[in-house]
Amino acid sequence: MQPTGDLRREAAVAAAVVVIAVVVDRPVLLLGAAGVAAAVVARQYAALRSFAAVDDALTVAVGAGGSNTVVGRATTVPIAVSLGRPVDCAVRVTVDPPVPASPEAEPATIDLPAGTTTAEATLTFAVPVAGRFALPDAAVEIVDSSGRIEETLSRATDTEIDVAARSPRDVHVGAGGRRVAAANGAHASGSRGSGLVPVETRPYVAGDSLANIDWKATARFDSPHVREFEVETELRTVLVVDRRTAMATGPPGETKLDYARDVALGYAARAERQTDPLGLYVVGEGTVTDAVSPTSGSEGYRRIRDALHGLEVRTDGAPSVRPSVDSPVAPFSSSVSLEEGSSAFDRTLRPFFSVNAASTDRVDGDPLVAAVERARIESADDLLTVLMTDDTDRRRVREAVSVARRGSGRVIVLLAPHVLFEPGGLGRIELAYDRYAEFESFRRTLDGLAGVRALEVAPRDRIEAVRRGADE
């Protein structure tokens, strides 16, 4: 029960009257002081009843709308305040944003004028760090009907905000808005020989190895039979990931590159699980910035994983991840040091490094095409090239695909539709749909090529928004 300035003034008047009564020795003035004191006590009593009524009837409900969010995103939490019955005092409920919220976040202030029972407001804030944060208790300020006594209560909000790090949400990999499986699972080789997976049991013919005779089948059919197995092969895969400026389109943490990285990590995990050789070529501005030839060693998988995790869009041509042995920067650095050395070791190795250094110089043509060409050169013919880029330069994508499918090469093209990532891209849904339709036409063109599987990679909610827009 905190007195306001008005009540303090009244108390001062009572004290002054008492003093005057003593000074002038007139007891009648004590009646005035008694009257003021009685008025103050009556106001306290009235305020006590009002505050107790508020305490009993007030509820602060925090909506769950913003309980899950991501770092840096403006989050809106609806707050509803209600009183079970009208009261004659003014109530203000203030809810502060969580402690780690950005300083510019304003608390939500909800005023309940005397006589009203419900009010609503929203609390908007952005949290710059990931984690789980409790919403502070609501502060309830009450001022009695005379405006002379106030009190502050608190109400638990019982709300926690989960703030996740920015990362792609619900990655959609599909065709024409429909989800499809992008990765290969166990793959049939089509040829037969030694292996673990039995294919068929057939009658023995001259020339079959005696070691392949299935004695149980022979006894059952009363004639010699052999069992055949499928030969196990490796699926050599190279990931060609475009990290040029256009791939930076999208909200922080949800750019085209982030989605491409997510899918690429899926391929890397699948390859590691099946011990298939996997390579990685990263395409930068005018150069292939990182290259790892197909490898099935655990160190190679780890290097590729690290490279993918460290991928970011940079336009200065510098390596996007730390240089590795297979990085184009590493041999260049080594050749420079060899140029400066004069030992027999330097002289012997210098020619080899100069050749490698030349091959990692900036490419003359399109770096995406150059990366695919390089992958083809450094790998076997039966190569699966997984090309991850966007649709901003369709001519170059076509060119890269045609290079990748030379010989018996197979290609999976994972395209990030620009319209689904650019800010405001879905502002006018009809326009967005037209642009998406153009993208889809391009994707189908690629998908129609022999040995090519073209798929889209995008946030699922945005794909669905475009499809809903089309339906409407």
């Binding site: 029960m1 008005d6 003034r9 009244e10 008047v13 009572a14 004290a15 002054a16 009257v17 008492v18 003093v19 005057i20 009564a21 003593v22 007139r26 007891p27 009648v28 003035l29 004590l30 009646l31 005035g32 002081a33 008694a34 009257g35 003021v36 004191a37 009685a38 008025a39 103050v40 006590v41 009556a42 106001r43 306290q44 009593y45 009235a46 305020a47 006590l48 009843r49 009002s50 505050f51 107790a52 009524a53 305490d55 009208p86 004659d88 005092c89 003014a90 203000r92 005023d111 004028p113 005397a114 006589g115 001022v143 009695d144 009907s145 005379s146 405006g147 106030e150 009190e151 209560l153």
Partner: protein, 166 residues
């Protein structure tokens, strides 16, 4: 009754006093004072009303008793008692409460009666205004503090731990 925010952002209650009861209270004070003490009493009543308009009825009660020093210098005790009734009416007229003015008015009347009887009793017993004034101040302060503490307990703003936060 409405609510507004002060320039400092503080929550204020700007009350529209119940106009008819307050008007009756004003008229009652002027009429009663005038009837008791003539023109001087009426002037004291107008001064009291002016103080109520400017600073509120509580301050007006104090101002009224100040005017008594002049206009009721040697008036009999019953005239003072009647004037107190008029001032009490002025106080009650300005009171607002969701439960109606009744309970609060009763509390105000009982408190005033208790404080007045206490001050008068001590003065009668000791003949000292100083003693009566000190007694009145101490008792009124204790009552106000007791209500304050009860409110803290009622609203759950105190804990058993003396060092703990409410």
């Amino acid at each position: 009754m409405s609510r507004s925010r002060s320039s400092e952002g503080r929550l204020d209650v700007v009350g529209e006093r119940p106009s008819v009861p307050v008007g009756i209270g004003y008229v009652g004070v002027v009429v009663v004072f005038g009837a008791l003490w003539g023109a001087g009493g009426a002037l004291a009543g107008l001064t009291t009303v002016a103080a109520s308009v400017v600073a509120g009825p509580v301050v007006a009660v104090a101002v009224a008793h100040g005017t008594f020093l002049v206009v009721a210098h040697s008036a009999p005790g019953w005239t003072i008692a009647v004037s107190e009734v008029a001032l009490g009416g002025l106080l009650v007229a300005g009171l607002r409460h969701q439960h109606g003015p009744g309970p609060t008015a009763v509390v105000a009347a009982v408190a005033f009666a208790a404080f007045a009887v206490l001050a008068a009793g001590v003065y009668d017993a000791t003949g000292s205004v100083m003693t009566a004034a000190v007694t009145l101040s101490v008792v009124a302060g204790l009552v106000a503090y007791a209500i304050h503490r009860y409110e803290l307990v009622r609203l759950g703003l105190v804990t058993d731990d003396p060092e703990g936060e409410p």
